[in-house]
C-alpha cells in the first residue's frame, strides 16, 4: 500500500524579493500532483540544502531574478552533494542569460527554465528525470 509522491522544494535564494514567479510555479507543481514545500524569499544556499535534506525532496527548484545565479546555484548543488543527496534534481527558473545556461548545467544544474515557459514543460521534465529509490 505504498504511496509515494514526488516532493519538490521551491526556494528563492539571494536578496531579490520578487516571489510572484516562484509562487506561480509552486502552485502549478501542486496542481500537477506534487508535494511542494515552499520556503519563501531570502534563503541562503545553506538554508536551502538543509531544508531539502529534512524534507527528503526529489527536486529543488530555485527562482532567481537578481543575477546572482552563478554564485548561488552551484553552491546549492555542492552542498546537496556534500550531504549525500546525490539524487536530488536541481532546476532553475528566472532570468538567466543564454551564455550562463551551459555553465550552470556543467555545475550540476539539471535544467534552466526562462520566463514564459509553459508549466507542462517543467512538470514533464520533473516526471521524466526524477530519480526514484529502487
Amino acid at each position: 500500500m505504498s504511496e509515494r509522491k514526488i516532493r519538490v522544494l521551491v526556494a528563492k535564494p539571494g536578496l531579490d524579493g520578487h516571489d510572484r514567479g516562484a509562487k506561480v510555479v509552486a502552485r502549478m507543481l501542486r496542481d500537477a500532483g506534487f508535494e511542494v514545500i515552499y520556503t519563501g524569499i531570502r534563503q541562503t544556499p545553506q538554508m536551502i540544502a538543509e531544508a531539502a535534506l529534512q524534507e527528503d525532496v526529489d527536486v529543488v527548484g530555485l527562482s532567481i531574478l537578481s543575477g546572482a545565479h552563478m554564485t548561488l546555484c552551484p553552491k546549492v548543488v555542492e552542498l546537496l552533494r556534500a550531504q549525500g543527496q546525490d539524487n536530488v534534481l536541481v532546476i532553475v527558473g528566472g532570468i538567466i542569460p543564454e551564455e550562463d545556461v551551459e555553465k550552470l548545467k556543467a555545475a550540476g544544474v539539471a535544467a534552466v527554465f526562462g520566463p514564459g515557459t509553459p508549466s507542462q514543460e517543467y512538470v514533464n521534465f520533473i516526471r521524466n528525470n526524477v530519480k526514484v529509490p529502487a
Binding site: M1, S2, E3, R4, K5, A26, R27, L29, R30, D31, A32, G33, F34, E35, V36, I37, Y38, T39, G40, R42, Q43, T44, Q46, M47, E50, A51, L53, Q54, E55, D56, Q83, G84, Q85, D86, N87, F125, N128, N129, V130, K131, V132, P133, A134
Partner: protein, 343 residues
C-alpha cells in the same frame, strides 16, 4: 530525456543505526519510508519502537491564520534556549482533486535554520480528514527514537471537529485569534474540548480581550470534569485517578501570546512544562498512554481489516452491485450486507 533512474536505497539496518546515531539524512529517509508506507516500513518502526517513549509530544491546533506556525517556531526557540532538542511535524492539506499539496509552514520557520538541535518535517494530509495525516503518529515515533526531547505537531488549519491530535499529543494547545467568533462558538462541542491549554495569539489585535473573556466564560461553566472516550463506538466514562479531587485536577487556562514578537511564549512554555509534570505526577500520563495505544491499535486493525476485506471482493461483483444501486434495484446497505455475506 533520460528514463526514470533508480537510486541506491539504504537498508533498514543502516537506517535504524543512522536514526539512533543522529545521522540526519538517514532520519529524513526513514521518515519518508514511514510516510510512504513502503513495504519495509513496518520492519523499520518495529526496530525503532523500543527506543521511543522519551519525548514530550505537544500538539498545536486551531483555525487557519491563527498563527500556529509562528507560535510553533517561537516555542521551538524557547525550548532551544532551555537546552532541549526539538522535532517539528507540520501538516498542510492535500488537494482532493490532484493529490498535490503546497506545504508552506517552513516560510515562518526560517529563524530555526542552521540549528542542528532542530528537525522540521512538512507532511501533506494525503486524504486524511482529522487534521493529521494517517502516518503522522509513526513519523513522531521516528523523531522520538532519534532522541528529540520535545516534538511539536502542528495540525492543518482546522474547523471545529478535527480532534485527532488529542490522541497523538501529550499536551494539546488550541490556538485562537481575536475576531473569529462569539460566545456561542466558544461553547460549541469539538475542538475546544481537547485543549489542555487555550492560547489567544495575536493578542495585540483589537478584540483580543473579548475573545479571552468568551473562552474564560466557557471554561467557568465546564462540566463535572468527567472524561469520556469512544471505545468501539461506545461512549465510556473514564475513571480518572483524580476524580472528585478538585485541587489535583488540571486547570485549563487561557494564555495570551504575540508569537511574532515572542511575547507570552516563555510563560506558555512553562505552562506546557507544568502540564507535563502534572501528567507524570497525577498518573494521568499512564492513562493517556493507554488510550493512545488503544487508539493506535484500533486504527491499524481497522485499516488492515479493510484491506483484507477489499482484497476478497471481486471487482466485477462490486461494479455489478453499484450498477444495481444506481438503478434503485437495491439499496447501499443491503448491497454491502450482500457483499459481506459472500466473502
Amino acid at each position: 530525456m533520460s528514463a526514470v533512474e533508480t537510486i541506491q536505497r539504504p537498508s533498514i539496518a543502516a537506517l535504524v543505526e543512522g536514526v539512533l546515531n543522529g545521522h540526519r539524512l538517514h532520519l529524513a529517509r526513514a521518515i519518508s519510508r514511514v510516510e510512504n508506507q513502503e513495504n519495509d516500513a513496518g520492519e523499520l518502526l518495529a526496530a525503532l519502537y523500543p527506543h521511543c517513549g522519551r519525548a514530550h509530544i505537544i500538539g498545536v491546533t486551531g483555525a487557519p491564520g491563527t498563527g500556529k506556525s509562528t507560535l510553533v517556531t517561537a516555542l521551538a526557540q524557547s525550548y532551544r534556549n532551555a537546552g532541549l532538542t526539538v522535532g517539528i511535524v507540520a501538516i498542510d492539506p492535500t488537494s482532493p482533486f490532484t493529490g498535490g499539496a503546497l506545504l508552506g509552514d517552513r516560510v515562518r520557520m526560517r529563524s530555526l535554520a542552521g540549528d542542528a538541535g532542530v528537525f522540521v518535517r512538512s507532511m501533506a494530509t494525503r486524504g486524511s480528514l482529522g487534521g493529521l495525516s494517517k502516518t503522522t503518529g509513526d513519523v513522531v515515533t521516528v523523531l522520538d527514537a532519534a532522541g528529540f526531547e520535545r516534538i511539536l505537531v502542528e495540525t492543518v488549519g482546522v474547523g471545529q471537529a478535527e480532534v485527532e491530535i488529542a490522541s497523538t499529543a501529550h499536551t494539546t494547545l488550541v490556538v485562537e485569534a481575536p475576531g473569529l467568533g462569539d460566545e456561542v462558538q466558544a461553547i460549541k462541542a469539538g475542538i475546544l474540548e481537547i485543549a489542555d491549554i487555550l492560547v489567544v495569539n495575536k493578542a495585540d489585535r483589537p478584540g483580543a480581550d473579548r475573545t479571552i473573556r468568551a473562552l474564560e466564560m466557557m471554561l467557568e461553566i465546564e462540566g463535572d470534569g468527567a472524561r469520556y472516550v469512544r471505545h468501539h463506538g461506545q461512549l465510556l466514562r473514564v475513571e480518572s485517578p483524580l476524580e472528585g479531587d478538585e485541587e489535583a485536577r488540571w486547570k485549563v487556562i487561557v494564555m495570551k501570546t504575540v508569537a511574532t514578537e515572542g511575547s507570552g511564549v516563555e510563560a506558555l512554555r512553562q505552562r506546557i512544562d507544568a502540564h507535563r509534570r502534572w501528567l507524570l505526577e497525577s498518573g494521568e500520563m499512564a492513562l493517556r498512554e493507554q488510550l493512545r495505544i488503544a487508539h493506535t491499535l484500533e486504527n491499524i486493525l481497522r485499516a488492515e481489516l479493510n484491506r483484507r476485506i477489499a482484497s476478497r471482493i471481486r471487482p466485477g461483483n462490486l461494479e455489478e452491485l453499484m450498477e444495481r444501486i444506481r438503478r434503485r434495484e437495491i439499496d447501499p446497505y443491503s448491497a454491502a450486507a450482500d457483499l459481506l455475506a459472500h466473502l
